[in-house]
């Protein structure tokens, strides 16, 4: 009896395992193919000499032309086939092209009869290997015979069909370290890394502090609080493209509201190009201080857009703190600042740490915002923008992938930190 139950429960467990796999397998497959395999493919591409143009597969271009007239039976004309390898880099191998020869046409002569042969109204030309950029020509001499039917038998009606094999740069075993060499030797790289760190640290810390501040303000209950809580989440939920362009127009040097207002109020004399100027200089006791304007603006945008997230989480956590400890503290005469410092903060420190790590990683990953605001110009190029710049602006996919690999490795280090610390507090 007992054995029976044991057997049954292990049978049940087996079934459960099977079912669980069935339920979760589709998800795993999809995520694997779109997230993890590309991740590995990115490593692969980063070791390849591949540019954007190489993605267009090489092909054989054939043009068919008829010289002469075929208006009457017995007339002679020529068909010219011009072929060309479209790629400037890669050879085509085993090139064969075939064309259908209609019944109403007799082939008199083939100029390159070593390459071509005719098999039951089909022309087959075996061109063999075709080097990059190379081209050639095949001429057929034809005549019209009596079985010509006007509509069907025009030789141009049938397009020549080509077949060939070629090396696909993505799958070949052609590796190079050039991409990494290029990335690391460029002076710009260390500058980019520095800017990324500035952006990430100040963006994260700023958004977190503003979020904490907003949460403190919205914790006090007052009329209209739910509405204001909703309003404060607007920057986070609206499309990045809309808010980024709104900021660009708001700070536009020619027709932007901020510039016109500052000029109107006589704070500045000339309009400032907030998103296009790398530095503004200040003189402080005779020292020239350079303030990175565009970078700061991008950081301010980041803070503005993401403080709602920290705000929401910190507020949720604060509302879960029991009221009575504050009441007790009030009776003991603790001042508001003391209450914040000794009661709220210890409760919040866990969520703040977790938010900091998460936001740190996401800010580090951020691409859209900077790309839309400045395009990575004026000293705002971060690593992620550099990926785009290398891969799509300079068209060097390999170098872009190499930068992406560097990003991934840095992220991996962050993530290890994240896992280590996030065990204390789960969001």
């Amino acid at each position: 009896m007992k054995k029976n139950i044991q057997y049954k429960s292990s049978e049940l467990l087996r079934k459960e395992k099977k079912l669980a796999l069935l339920l979760i397998l589709p998800t795993i497959c999809l995520v694997l193919s779109i997230v993890l395999i590309p991740l590995i493919a990115n490593f692969w591409i980063s070791f390849k000499p591949i540019s954007l143009g190489d993605l267009r597969p090489p092909s054989l271009i054939i043009k068919e032309n008829i010289r002469g007239k075929l208006s009457k039976s017995g007339e002679i004309a020529q068909i010219h086939y011009r072929y060309r390898n479209s790629s400037t880099k890669y050879d085509l191998n085993e090139v064969i092209f075939t064309d259908f020869i209609p019944k109403g046409i007799d082939i008199i002569d083939i100029k390159q009869d070593t390459l071509c042969s005719v098999e039951s109204n089909k022309l087959i030309c075996n061109l063999g290997k075709l080097k990059a950029k190379s081209s050639g020509k095949i001429i057929l001499e034809i005549s019209r015979n009596d079985s010509w039917v006007n509509i069907d038998d025009n030789p141009k009606k049938h397009k020549p069909i080509a077949s060939f094999t070629t090396t696909n740069i993505l799958t070949s075993f052609d590796f190079t370290l050039e991409n990494y060499k290029k990335i690391f030797s460029a002076n710009e790289f260390w500058q980019v890394l520095k800017i990324t760190i500035y952006y990430t640290v100040f963006g994260t810390a700023g958004a977190l502090l503003l979020g904490l501040f907003a949460a403190q303000i919205l914790q006090k209950s007052f009329k209209g609080r739910p509405i204001i809580r909703g309003l404060l989440l607007f920057p986070y939920v609206s499309p990045v493209i809309a808010v980024a362009f709104a900021w660009v127009i708001l700070f536009d040097p020619f027709s932007g509201v901020v510039n016109s207002m500052l000029i109107q109020m006589e704070v500045i004399e000339k309009p400032i190009n907030f998103f296009g100027q790398k530095f503004v200089s200040f003189y402080f006791f005779g020292f020239e201080l350079k303030f990175p304007l565009a970078l700061s603006m991008v950081i301010i945008f980041e803070i503005w857009r993401y403080f709602p997230l920290s705000f929401l989480f910190i507020l949720a956590k604060m509302q879960s703190i029991p009221e009575d400890i504050y009441e007790a503290a009030e009776i003991d005469g603790a001042t508001p600042l003391q209450q914040f410092y000794f009661l709220s903060l210890p409760f919040l420190i866990g969520i703040i740490a977790t938010l900091f790590l998460l936001r740190f990683i996401w800010t580090f990953n951020k691409f859209d915002d900077i790309f839309l605001l400045t395009g990575g110009n004026a000293g705002t190029r971060t690593l992620t923008v550099n990926v785009y710049e290398q891969a799509f602006a300079i068209s060097n996919l390999g170098a872009g992938a190499a930068v992406a690999v560097i990003i991934f490795i840095i992220l991996l280090i962050f993530s290890i930190f994240f896992i280590k610390y996030s065990k204390k507090e789960t969001i």
Binding site: A20, M265, P336, V387, A391
Partner: protein
Amino acid sequence: MFWKYGLFCSILTGSIWGLFWQIIFTMIGLLTIGEKLYVNVVPFLIVGSLISVIYVFLQNKISIKFHLLSIIFMVLLIYSFTFGDPFLQKKTNSISTFLLVVFNSFFTWISIYLSLKQINIGKLSRYNLEKFYLRLLWGLGLIILILITLLPFYIMIMTSLKNQQSLILNPLDLSLNFTSDLNVLFSSYIELFTNFNFHIFLFNSFLVSIVTVFVTLFFSIPGAYALSRLRFPAKEWFSGSVILIYLIPSIVLVIPLYAVFSQLGLRNSLFGLLIVYPATTIPVALYMLRGYFNSLSKEIDDAAIMDGLSRFQIIIKIAMPLSKPAIVSVALYVFMIAWNEFLFAFMFLDDTDLFTLSRGIISLNSSEIPQQHLMAGAVIATLPVMVIFLYLEKFLISGLSSGGVKG
């Protein structure tokens, strides 16, 4: 110390609020009445502090009449201290500047009243002092937060309703001429829908987002159920790796996906997007739903099994109806991610017929197309998300705070 005395507190409060509202109302005036105004610092500082001192002395006699009288008194003070020209316009004053002054006085008075409640002129205790300073900070902070949050949206909407001429003439004048024809007011929107194919973009965006929602739910509900209820090897490992996938940036994926999709012919197609979007949203959805399933009691499942329901039936008949709020919030959240997505749409789509809104708006960002078209596009993209958000805010907030924190 002088800053511990109520008198100093009241002067400080009065001057801060006086200055603050003066700046705000100058800005509001600049943006709405379209006249040239200047910030006039000193008189407003003085009037603010005078009024707050009066308040502290007379606060026991407070009544509606007292409020009204003080506001009128304040308007008079402002006009007399600025010699009849509160915003330094150097010309005769209009009714609109008078209204600005009245509103200014009203808000300044209310702010002073709210921040100086129960403050007497003498020395304050540490508790009351902190309470006072924090209250001041609270008020200032709340108003500034709201203003900086909403300003870009205000600019976005107003710019989209203006025409080219008036924008170049005076970029500050965002007042609207409601007397004009609606066709003129909404000319940018009409232009976008007639000449810039925005109806196609809107349709594509809805199509992609809604399909993404359904695909995501189709995959993630069974997945999350399995992660929450069933026992299988490496379960913990799966749960852990879900959040790690979250941390992988799309810029790292974009190059290989671009390369492979180009060669497979999937790149310039909505189908390509519909493969990528669910793959990025499923981990988020799995994480959120698993959390919710965990909070449901397992006994119901056991009872259902006893009654002879299969696991699939349990998911459809029990788990899904019970977790409706979570599913709605996940669906909304996924919709928002797909709707707002920019990078893949930008990299993948080349044909105008396939553009989503994000991609379409990018194509408006050129010097040949006027700004108000770009802003009208931005409004069109923002509006559906806002409507959904405001309508179902509670769902979304609970969803957001239960783990949907995709940056």
